[in-house]
């Protein structure tokens, strides 16, 4: 029996490797994953199910370059300063922000501001409007600084316009 470098095999955990593979390509089938990791396909299936049930795997999403289909989108990173509240700290103000569907991500950060909020909208006006009327009026929000995104070079580990192609000779010894 082969044990892949740094990995577990039949009967072992193998969970991290399954997650790694799915994180890099969520289209991989259970069968392929089983072959790649020398695991039993049933075992892979039940492990994935378990990971989905316990919310380790939250969602299978696709990274899309919307510009390719002419879709106009505007996004902005907003630095939000807040007043933390007794007992709940930043959590309650964060929740009031992340419940809005326009908000793509919210993170509590160390440094000169507290929450890094990523917003997506159709137009600049729409995003500005959201910040002015919704975000900055939330109780506990002290101030906001909006940075509109001009260009995305890399997202989630993927280079958006990667011109590094396979330049190898077709045949070599």
């Amino acid at each position: 029996m082969n044990i892949p470098p740094g990995g577990q095999c039949k009967g072992g955990a193998g969970v991290k490797e399954i997650l790694e593979l799915l994180e890099s390509n969520s289209k991989l089938t259970e069968n392929d994953i089983a072959i790649m990791l020398s695991m039993d396909v049933e075992e892979v299936r039940s492990k994935i199910k378990e990971l989905e049930n316990n919310k380790t795997i939250l969602k299978y999403i696709t990274l899309v370059n919307w510009e390719k289909v002419g879709e106009e989108k505007v996004s902005a990173m907003i630095e939000v300063r807040t007043t933390p509240q007794r007992d709940v700290g930043f959590d309650s103000v964060a929740e009031r922000i992340y419940r809005f569907p326009e908000v793509r991500s919210v993170r509590l950060l160390s440094g000169t501001y507290d929450l890094g909020v990523f917003i997506e909208g159709r137009t600049m006006r729409e995003v500005s409007h959201f910040v002015a009327t919704k975000l900055s009026t939330i109780e506990g929000v002290v101030s906001t600084t909006t940075h509109f995104v001009l260009k995305t070079y890399k997202q989630d580990g993927v280079i958006i316009e990667d011109d590094e192609e396979d330049r190898r000779l077709v045949v070599s010894p």
Partner: protein, 401 residues
Amino acid sequence: MINKNNWSERINPVVRSIPPSGIRKFFDMATEMKGVISLGVGEPDFVTPWHIREGCIYSLEKGYTMYTSNQGLLELREEIARDLDITYGVTYDARRELLVTVGVSEGLDLSMRALICPGDEVLIPEPSYVSYAPATALAGGVPVTIATSVEEEFRLTADRVEKAITPRTKILLLCYPNNPTGAVLRRRDLLEIAEVVRDHDLIVISDEIYDKLTYIGSHTCFSSIPGMRDRTVLLNGFSKSYAMTGWRIGYAAGNSDFIGAMNKIHQYSILCAPITAQMAALEALKNGREGMRKMVQHYNRRRHLVMQAFKDMGIPCFEPGGAFYTFPDISSTGLTSEMFAEKLLMEEKVAVIPGNAFGPSGSGFVRCAYAASMEDLGEAFRRMSGFVKRNGVQSKIVVNL
């Protein structure tokens, strides 16, 4: 008066007698075609990791553009010595026992030229990389091939070595993990071979360029076997493990007499390996371990997929323990290696290399590299599956990568 047609007769007969590479014709055919998926490539599909490229760019900015000492940057040699010590517990003096070369190819040429006297025989396992026999002949030696077989998983055995030895035998060449078969030698195989080497007082040139790409067991460096260090020229480099083929950077390690002799030839023919590549190699050794581990993990996963694909196709393939090649037995198609490769290229636009390009005992096999993206591998095996079915092989199920 010299006629134009006579020029070829004035070429050194040794050079003239070397046959053209077995893959040349195939290369020309495949290069002409569009839309070819190639499993015929003997190099990683990864581009050199960015930190290595960036390290090299920085060295250029800093003005590292001059010659280095003939043996190569001392700092690099020290890192190589450290790496060999940590990985295999074999120690080399960075000042006297290491030489930085222009890839393993140069190391091979230097060792042959430094060690071979006219007529000396060099034992070369086969199938194997295409350079060994010509490099021997060019150095005035006589290549003596030792056939290996799929029944023994293309492993070289002490018995076969023993049988090939004559009073003129001077050198045994080892090349494991092997290109093209992916075969590896177990430690006990090497111990038995070492016995024979000792008994017959042979020198060993061990090309271990694929050492890091070992998936079954762990690689044993031949120099680390008791009593073998001083009679071995160890050749290795950065091409495969760090995806640095085009940088042309490798090294030779051996006793100070051998390395000194090789350095003599090196200093008059090459002077030194390019400094940019040496700086990149230094960065690879210092910070490249984790990246390399990831690449090896990728290869291993693809290896499993490709083995399964052959199984599903009904094509027998022994399990390769190293490198990034599979060497399936295609004789059930009724085609020769060359016909198989040619027809597969013409009909399905998938390039593989005929096994006999690596020696006659590769007949009936083809070399398929799995250093290709998952998408390409999937598509290539779908096409190949249809192809072997048309040629009368019963596949088990539909191949789905």
